[in-house]
């Protein structure tokens, strides 16, 4: 084996295609997250796709190089912030004198509209708190899954060296 593989990088072709596909996958995952209340998908699915993009970069460039660029602490922080947003949104319902998880955004300019029922293209600006919850879940899933894979890759690397 030459130095290239020991560094944990794959061949030029794989790396180039991975770099080209990264923005494509990311924007698609954001599309899935953002349109979660209109089309199939939502926070978890979009987050899993984005985390897969990061996994792809980890595979193509090796986790050592990726660790320098995205630290696991940063990913954990993204996860915590996402979960905290979710809980805060849920609690605002209680503060507004209604119940937990109350959809308090209905009727407001932000996400306030109600989409018509039936076959229609759908309005992005609808659904009340649902898009916000989708974004929060998406943040949590991106951070969580990417951090899990990164941490496990680092731990497994330590094992591999010992052998």
């Amino acid at each position: 084996m030459n130095d290239e593989t020991n560094d944990g990088r794959m061949s030029i072709i794989v790396r180039t295609i991975a770099t080209m596909m990264l923005p494509f996958i990311l924007i698609f995952s954001f599309y899935v997250i953002m349109h979660g209340h209109l089309t199939p998908g939502g926070g978890f699915q979009g987050g899993a796709i984005a985390a897969s993009a990061i996994v792809m970069m980890i595979a193509a460039y090796g986790h050592k190089m990726m660790e320098k660029r995205i630290s696991e602490d940063g990913l954990s922080m993204v996860e915590s912030v996402g979960a905290a947003i979710f809980a805060v949104v849920a609690f605002i319902g209680v503060i507004m004198a209604a119940s937990f998880m109350y959809n308090f955004l209905v009727g407001t300019p932000l996400f306030g509209e109600t989409p018509p029922f039936g076959s229609n293209p759908g309005i992005l600006n609808s659904g009340g708190v649902l898009p916000i919850l989708n974004i929060a879940v998406g943040m949590k899933v991106i951070g969580g899954l990417a951090a899990v894979v990164l941490i496990m890759a680092l731990a497994g690397d330590k094992e591999g060296d010992k052998k």
């Binding site: 593989t5 794959m10 061949s11 072709i13 794989v14 295609i17 596909m21 494509f24 076959s119």
Partner: protein, 116 residues
Amino acid sequence: MWELIYALLSIGIFFNLLASVGLLRFPDVYTRLHAGTKCTTFGSIFIALAVIAYGLWKWYEGDKTMISLAIHAFFALIAILLTNPTGAHAIARAAYRSGVKPAKAVIDELGGEKND
């Protein structure tokens, strides 16, 4: 219009079936990759084209939202085109590095390079 779709679909399915048969018939990884990559990519392109043609046709007939069927199918096609050959390359390289030598090979210049 249905005739065009039938034609595109049958070409696509023919090549996909061919790919599967090729996978079974060929002797080693590299030749199987030839079948598996080229034919499935080509066949899938035709199937995607059939879907795109269907979408455009329905759009032309007045169903406005059907245009997005065509656009999304187009994106799936681009994704297949980008990823399939790269995946084949990755597998071939991995196979070579993990020690699978090409069967019945008349020449192996890569092995000569690596062994010295």
